[in-house]
């Protein structure tokens, strides 16, 4: 089976079957990322992300990974859609947790909502989606050093929250 970059080249030439393969590969990750950073309307944003990825398929140069390019689009779609930050933390429903213990899921949500948007996005990309620091920096449009600082800060705060909950 072709790698992402090969499929992306085919999609850039108008091959919808190749693009469908890419959607199948990445829908879970993109939706998880958007659910964690945007919460409500995450699926609409994910749909917009993939539609934009199709329209911009010709602009993927293959210099980085397709995944980083796709998350970059998702991040921009999120940024352009977000409401003023005042209402952000008040009434968001908890995101589905994959922990066997629901209480831990709620606690990780609480810990996540204490992070800034960028810290949250960096944490999801690096801890949950398995992106390298370079990929996450590309996706969020940040210098590598800034991204590393964000990840370190998010990691420390999340671990501290988890340790408090273990005590």
């Amino acid at each position: 089976m072709d790698g992402d970059e090969g499929l992306a080249r085919l999609a850039a030439g108008g091959d919808t079957a190749a693009f469908e393969q890419l959607v199948r590969r990445h829908e879970g990750g993109v939706r998880n990322f958007l659910r964690r950073v945007a919460r409500d309307s995450a699926d609409d944003l994910a749909q917009e992300t993939f539609t934009r990825a199709w329209r911009l398929a010709g602009s993927f140069r293959g210099s980085g990974s397709y995944r980083a390019w796709l998350y970059k689009i998702a991040w921009r779609v999120f940024l352009s859609s977000r409401k003023p930050p005042v209402a952000e933390e008040t009434c968001n429903p908890p995101v589905e947790s994959h922990s066997p213990d629901p209480a831990i899921g709620i606690d990780i949500e609480r810990a996540m909502s204490a992070l800034s948007e960028r810290e949250r996005a960096a944490a999801i990309l690096c801890f949950a989606e398995g992106c390298s620091h370079a990929e996450a920096a590309t996706a969020l449009g940040l210098p590598l050093g800034t991204l590393k600082s964000l990840v370190a800060r998010a990691r420390a705060r999340l671990i501290s929250s988890l340790e408090q909950q273990d005590d």
């Binding site: 108008g14 469908e20 959607v23 829908e27 994910a46 993939f50 899921g105 990780i108």
Partner: protein, 98 residues
Amino acid sequence: MTDAEAKLAALLGKPDRPVDGAFVKSVMAEVDLNRRMRASRAESWRQFAGEAAATVAVLASAILLGGIVGDRGMAGLLLLALFGSSLLIVRPLAPAHS
């Protein structure tokens, strides 16, 4: 990866589930719509370019012929050219027959 990072990955990771076919289908429906719209827009531009070129050719012919047949003849030819141009403009606006 440290234990803490592994725990974070487990808590934050995407659910272990099969591909969401309904989501993929809705994305592909939008992609298909987008593709058709682009094709239709390109076709419209091609048609417009062809018709604009034809109009220019008709007008240029009228002006050249006007030089040959004199002022009165030129007025008639210009009217004829305008009539032909208006047909070219109105035809794409008419409802298509299925």
